[in-house]
């Protein structure tokens, strides 16, 4: 079982938090902080597994993480999950984020995750459900997400058009929106881990 999926940046700011077990908001924040603290002080070339998070789980649980550019993807899992399998999944996960968000934006970067956390949640929901892995096939995930987005668009219809226009205008002059932090090059680091079919 996956107990939690966290994405935060190099400064520990949460970009996505999905807990598959209930904690109240304070504890959740504490877990994110603690996890960040544990993960961030590790070197780049150490292993991707981490034990000893006190707040979440206990001895049966592990943190499995990957660090891409400015973001940490952290899965908290118990012993029923395969460690390397989850690593593969994170890779699929980030690839799907990249691919799906790429369709809406030209180059995905941390900011896209920040502004579209709801979309990220929807993507994640196609991949992991209630703490169990639902789908590992990237194409299948993307198809389902696209279909749902299409449905959303068709529902918005004409009424949605002005809103979209406005938000496009709002997005236009954003000096703070650097497009250069690309996490699309992630697969370079892990050439020996083929993704799932």
């Amino acid at each position: 079982m996956i107990k939690a999926i966290l994405i935060f940046n190099n400064h520990g700011k949460p970009r996505l938090s999905k807990f598959y077990e209930h904690f109240n908001e304070d504890i959740e924040q504490q877990i994110i902080r603690e996890t960040f603290h544990l993960v961030s002080k590790r070197d780049e070339n150490v292993c991707n597994f981490l034990e000893g998070g006190m707040l979440i789980g206990g001895s049966d649980y592990k943190l499995i993480y990957r660090h891409y550019a400015t973001l940490y993807f952290v899965f908290c899992v118990d012993s029923s999950e395969s460690e390397l399998g989850i690593l593969d999944l994170i890779q699929v996960n980030s690839q799907v984020f990249v691919e799906t968000l790429d369709k809406c934006f030209e180059n995905v970067c941390e900011l896209d995750l920040i502004f579209h956390v709801d979309k990220v949640h929807h993507i994640l929901a196609e991949m992991v459900m209630g703490g169990m892995v639902l789908e590992t096939n990237m194409n299948e995930i993307i198809t389902q997400v696209d279909l749902q987005n299409k449905m959303e668009k068709s529902e918005a219809g004409i009424a949605g058009a002005p809103a979209r226009a406005v938000s496009a205008v709002k997005n236009m002059n954003l000096p703070e929106m650097p497009r250069n932090i690309n996490i699309g090059d992630i697969s370079i680091k892990v050439p020996n881990l083929p993704s799932f079919k």
Partner: protein, 1264 residues
């Protein structure tokens, strides 16, 4: 209207959406909290509007704020509103918000049941999907109960997208509502073979998750998973299955044997590291399960360890980590194999990666021995000094203590050294484990008598330097150590060199800053010290020291009398008064020391933690019997405080009565006294407790754990002390300790003959091992107190409730609550409801759930009311309910019929499962089993072959009876052998698996003996699975009928495979090796040889046979045509090796493939059978058997058993039977009997095959 919509959407354009919120927060870095609070106010305004779009936008923003740590539970009701929007866009937002912030105690969840149900049955698959996703995060027991049936129907939805989600969510439903597991399980199992890989994967996921916690219930699924494992290409699924097998193999070693081959194939073929690693892991699990108790497998373990070493040495840190992880699994069962890699593990301790260091630490636990313990701990102590983070340092500390104290300090040869280590550990600042060190100090000082002098000296030093430990008292756990130090100094104060000094140290004003419980110990032990001081001054004419001591006490104690801690206060004031009185007596020159010492006299004995539980219950005392009849129902309901014995006998779960009679009271008092007498922390008044302990008759049963080392010698034998001295030198701060030790050594040497054994280092090591303790652990524990047992299982673990036997047929009462109840209820008036309740009160479970539902209904009403008040669109709500009702009723019949179907089917299929598993497993070559079988065979055959022929027929008549019973139960007729096993299973349902093995073994033996004797005269009749193939003075070869065939369509285009299992038994006294098996291939049948070898090459048999041992090998043959029986000539060559010589030997044999062996027992239903016969494609033939002198069912059983048929239908003395060949030929038989004449009419689509099969049947019966 349209204008209004446009206007609304234009308004919305300028509302803040999620992006604006995020942007705003980023622009207000300084006053983020303030900005967010204004945003929340805005959101509250938005939520009050009627426009659902505005609400959805607000909820979306709240979801974001929730992630930042803001509590948004106040908006729960609005979230429910957004969830119930008809638009997918908003619905999705609502469900997302709900999944992020709803949980079991969110009360509005009650209101969502109908909405969720409606969404689940929505025609739009994404509505359903979104509802399932949301539900998976916030499902409650109520929701699970109410929706279980709806979700179960979705498991058979036409869209795979819905099916996979429905399957996956069932796991959550099971957790919350365990009753649903059994009714839903057949369908879940079905989904393992779903055509869609996603659904399949989901089902595998769920079952693996279930099986992980209760593996034994899922053993019967092993064949199915095995099939999946060999067919699936989805790595994720494979990983899950392989992990599951890893959990199953310890329960069923035969399974492991079967797994090895496909796992090895996967290892060679896969390119995914993740899959490869899991395969290796499971192979290890298999080897461990196989090798327990079989020393010859340790070689393969060794091999595994070698391979893991390669992983650990890999530069990829992930592999290194995983290698260590896998290593720790081996360590548990084969510590020796791992120990040889100590160098590597120690090297990993220096790794820069903390995760790897922690893994290595875990392994260290199993690596220590008496020899290297000091060295390893020294290394760890260095790490402790270097460690920067407290987590890692604490981990090191606990590991050091774990390592040293494991199996009762087995590896510690020098306790002085250990005490110094503990003292050194107290210098760690900020550790959380002070209490751990303290309990170790206490334990060692109490249990190792000879170390007390040293320990007391060390503790006195600690007390003296207490200020070093208490730097920042509050958050410093290390001051717990002082608790131990004070107690040790007090209790063993007779060993103190200068008790007065220590007394002074214990009464310093600074002590008052320590935590209360420590102060209390200080005060109490100061009194003990005081007594010692008085005693030491006894007879001394100059009484100044004694008076000084009294004065010191009187001066310092008032500080403690004022303590806020009640315990401290009370003890201090008691002792103060006592000392004042003593002082008075001292002034009158009265000898008081003896009386004062009497207060604290007596020896303390360490008691095993579970000792109390193990006090045997005296004969004739039934703890569950009523002592007095319960006066009334109501009173007996208040549950008795759990008795100490309750854990021991979980089966007697009746609530115990409150009243206790005198006998019981006396008994308890006695037990309490015993406990007190043996409790080191209980301060006794009676000096005679030791005696009591010896006199009381039943007390030997109290396991008193004691390492009494005083006689053989605890102080180190010379070689050890040398090491110790070396260590001491390295630690300069220990100088003082060393000096003392030298003193002591001198003293020791002066002592009488005790030191004799000193010179023999190893011997003294032996002495130190507290052998009798081990006895206590293994003997005194009641069966259920084994370390891994329910004792340790968390009672709150939700998986405990899921430990359900899935093979039992479903009872009617287990059906899932069907929606129809509810639909009816909504229509009913409250009065009617009550009636309904009365009716259903027959079933208490239903009643309660009904009540709950009613409650919910009330809530629904409330909700309606509140809606009215708020002037919401009430009619909408009603509409919804109506819609619910409608679809509820519409679906109802369908549910019902499905339900009944399921209730009918499981009994047949599940009971078949059990036997299937054994059947499946029995086909695997299992050396342990066959070996057993063969040895039994040999043992029986050797003394009296004649006796066997008597015994076998004896057992025969019983079997048919069994089978007859079975026949009536199910039409799926299996082999006799399986039947018998099934019977057995039913009888011994709860027994462990190895019972079955035994059975297996015995039976195998019986059969082979039977054949062995019969085969001498007869050619090769297909009597049973194993028939004698050939035999000479060296070796006996038995063959199993080739009745396992692989799926033809799946595996081969035009041929089929037949697997022949051959048992080789070594009958001579020499070693047989280099066995090679070869068969002269015919045009029709070919032995499958590994790729690259020529058509005449022989196959090397992958094992050797020591004398008297047998083993089994399997050979695969490819057969073109199966319509004719075939014979293949073959040779077995081998080398016979004994001490003097080795000779080449050869054995010729003929492999006989009967047509029967191409048949597979295949169940067939009578309607399908009838259709087959009607089809007219079949040719018919018939035979007559005269003089068959056996009951009809016996006859049928024989045909089933020997010729692989199954009974389709049986009416009186007439039965139809069916079988199928591996190439898909149907063979149908109609068997009739009338007074010793049996007529068999047969039909088959291949006349030659039919003729041959009939001939074989004839032959079978001509023999009996």
């Amino acid at each position: 209207m349209a204008l209004k919509i446009v206007k609304g959407s234009i308004d919305r354009m300028f509302d803040k959406n999620l992006q604006d919120l995020v942007r705003g927060i980023r622009n207000h870095k300084e006053d983020e909290a303030k900005y967010i609070s204004t945003c929340i106010d805005e959101i509250k305004q938005e939520l009050k509007q009627d426009n659902i779009a505005v609400k959805a936008n607000a909820v979306c923003k709240l979801t974001y704020l929730q992630m930042l740590g803001y509590d948004v539970s106040w908006a729960a009701f609005n979230i429910v509103e957004v969830m119930s929007s008809s638009k997918f866009t908003y619905k999705r937002i609502g469900y997302l918000a709900a999944s992020q912030c709803f949980h079991e105690s969110t009360d509005v969840i009650m209101l969502t049941t109908n909405q969720i149900r409606k969404d689940l049955s929505s025609p739009n698959q994404y509505d359903t999907g979104v509802a399932l996703t949301g539900l998976s995060c916030f499902v409650t027991p109520d929701l699970a109960r109410d929706l279980a049936n709806d979700i179960m129907t979705l498991m058979s939805h036409t869209k795979p997208y819905i099916r996979k989600k429905a399957v996956l969510i069932m796991y959550k439903v099971f957790l919350k509502y365990p009753e649903s597991l059994r009714p839903a399980f057949p369908r879940l199992k079905e989904k393992l073979e779903d055509p869609d890989p996603g659904v399949q994967s989901a089902a595998v996921n769920v079952i693996c998750e279930l099986a992980r916690r209760n593996p034994k219930n899922y053993l019967s699924l092993a064949p199915l998973f095995f099939k999946l494992m060999t067919s699936s290409t989805n790595n994720w699924v494979l990983i899950k299955i392989i992990k599951l097998f890893g959990a199953l193999t310890p329960l069923e070693p035969r399974l492991g044997k079967k797994l090895i081959e496909p796992l090895t194939n996967l290892i060679h073929s896969t390119s995914a590291m993740s899959l490869l690693y899991e395969c290796v892991n499971t192979v290890i699990a298999v080897l461990i399960s196989l090798s327990s108790g079989m020393p010859n497998h340790s070689a393969s373990i060794q091999l595994c360890v070698q391979k893991l070493r390669i992983l650990i040495e890999d530069s990829d840190q992930n592999l290194k980590y995983l290698g260590l992880l896998a290593m720790s699994k081996i360590l548990k069962t084969h510590p020796k194999s791992v120990q040889s890699h100590k160098d590597l593990i120690l090297q990993c301790l220096d790794d820069k990666d903390e995760s790897i260091r922690l893994r290595a630490l875990d392994l260290l636990y199993g690596m220590v021995s008496k020899k290297n313990l000091m060295e390893i701990v020294k290394k760890l102590m260095l790490h402790v000094d270097k460690a920067e983070g407290t987590t890692y340092r604490d981990e090191l500390l606990t590991k050091i203590i774990d390592i040293c104290s494991q199996s009762n300090y087995q590896y510690i040869t020098n306790f002085e050294w250990y005490i110094s280590i503990l003292v050194e550990l107290t210098r760690l600042e900020g550790t959380r484990h002070g209490h751990l060190i303290a309990s170790q100090m206490l334990d060692v000082a109490i249990r190792v008598k000879a170390i007390r002098v040293f320990a007391v000296a060390q503790m006195a030093t600690l007390l003296d330097n207490a200020h070093m430990l208490t730097g920042n008292t509050q958050r410093n756990g290390i001051c717990e150590v002082l608790y131990a130090a004070a107690w040790i100094c007090g209790e063993f104060s007779e060993h103190l060199e200068n008790p007065m000094e220590t007394l002074e140290a214990m009464l310093r004003p600074k002590v008052a800053t320590l935590p209360g419980h420590i102060q209390a110990v200080y005060v109490q032990n100061a009194a003990k010290l005081f007594a010692t001081v008085l005693k030491s001054q006894e007879g001394n004419t100059d009484s100044t020291t004694a008076q000084e001591a009294s004065q010191l006490m009187i001066d310092r104690l008032p500080l403690f009398v004022q303590s806020a801690n009640l315990e401290v206060q009370e003890r201090a004031s008691c002792i103060l008064q006592l000392v004042k009185y003593i002082q008075k007596l001292q002034q009158k020159d009265v000898e008081v020391s003896e009386e004062v010492c009497a207060l604290f006299a007596g020896e303390l004995n360490p008691v095993a933690p579970k000792a109390q539980k193990k006090v045997p219950i005296p004969d004739g005392l039934d703890l569950d019997a009523w002592i007095n009849e319960p006066p009334s129902e109501s009173e007996s309901e208040d549950e008795q405080p759990k008795a100490i014995f309750s854990k021991e006998e979980p089966k007697h779960s009746r609530p115990r009565h409150t009243e206790v009679d005198e006998k019981e009271l006396a008994r308890r008092r006695e037990a309490r006294k015993q406990e007190q007498a043996n409790n080191p922390f209980y301060i006794k008044a009676s000096p005679s407790s030791q005696k009591v302990y010896q006199e009381t008759p039943g007390v030997e049963h109290i396991p008193v754990v004691q390492i009494d080392l005083s006689v053989p010698l605890k102080v180190p034998g010379l070689p050890m002390s040398d090491q110790y001295v070396k260590l001491e030198e390295e630690r300069r701060q220990k100088e003082r300790a060393e000096k003392k030790k030298k003193d002591k050594k001198k003293r020791k040497e002066k002592r009488s003959g005790r030191g004799k054994k000193h010179d023999s280092g190893p011997e003294s090591e032996e002495d130190i091992t507290p052998a009798h303790m081990v006895d206590i652990v293994t003997e005194e524990m009641p069966e259920n107190a084994l370390p891994s047992d329910d004792d340790e299982r968390d009672p709150a673990d939700p998986h405990k409730a899921l430990d359900i036997d899935l093979d039992k047929p479903l009872a009617d009462s287990e059906k899932l609550p069907v929606r129809s109840h509810r639909a009816a209820e909504v229509l009913k008036s409250p009065a009617e409801d009550e009636e309904g309740e009365n009716v259903s009160s027959l079933e208490p479970k239903k009643k309660s759930s009904k009540e709950k539902r009613e409650k919910k209904k009330d809530k629904d009403k409330d909700r309606k009311k509140s809606k009215e008040e708020k002037k919401k669109k009430k009619h909408k709500h009603e509409e919804k309910e109506e819609a619910d009702l409608l679809c509820g009723q519409a679906d109802e019949p369908a549910f019902q019929s499905e339900e009944t179907n399921e209730v009918v089917t499981p009994p047949t299929s599940t009971s078949a499962d059990v036997s299937d598993l054994d059947f499946w497993l029995s086909n695997a070559p299992v050396p342990s089993n066959t070996q057993e079988a063969a040895t039994v065979a040999a043992a029986e055959a050797a003394p009296a072959p004649g006796a066997i022929s008597v015994t076998t027929p004896d057992s025969e008549p019983e079997e048919p009876k069994d089978t007859e019973m079975e026949e009536t139960k199910s039409s799926k007729h299996k082999k006799k052998k399986q039947k018998r096993e099934k019977e057995d299973k039913e009888k011994k349902k709860k027994k462990k698996h190895h019972h079955h093995h035994h059975h297996h073994g015995d039976k195998g033996g019986e059969e082979s003996v039977q054949n062995g004797t019969v085969e001498e005269e007869e050619p090769l009749p297909p009597m049973s699975n194993y028939c004698l193939l050939a035999e000479n003075s060296y070796i006996k070869v038995m063959m199993e009928d080739a009745d396992e065939a692989y799926d033809i369509q799946g595996n081969l285009q035009d041929g089929s495979q037949v697997v022949v299992s051959v048992i080789f038994e070594n009958k001579c006294d020499s070693f047989l090796k280099s066995m090679e098996f070869n068969v002269l291939d015919s045009l029709n049948s070919k032995l499958q040889r590994p790729e690259g070898s020529g058509p005449h090459d022989s196959l090397t048999i992958p094992f050797q046979l020591p004398p008297g041992v047998s083993n089994e090998a399997r050979f695969v043959f490819t057969v073109q045509s199966i319509i004719m029986p075939q014979k293949l000539k073959g040779t077995l060559t081998f080398i016979v090796k004994n001490e003097e010589s080795s000779t080449h030997e050869k054995l010729d044999f003929k492999l006989h493939f009967t047509c029967t062996s191409y048949l597979i027992t295949t169940p067939c239903y009578s309607d399908a059978f009838a259709k087959l016969l009607e089809s007219g494609d079949l040719k018919s033939s018939s035979i007559r058997l005269e003089g068959v002198n056996m009951p009809f069912h016996h006859l049928l059983a024989r045909i089933c058993f020997h010729h692989h048929f199954s009974v389709v239908e049986r009416i009186d003395s007439c039965a139809s039977m069916y079988s199928r060949s591996i190439q898909g030929h149907h063979v149908c038989l109609l068997v009739k009997i009338s007074s010793q004449t049996v007529s068999v009419d047969a039909k088959c689509d291949e006349p030659t095959l039919l003729g041959n099969v009939l001939d074989e049947i004839k032959q079978t019966f001509s023999q009996c």
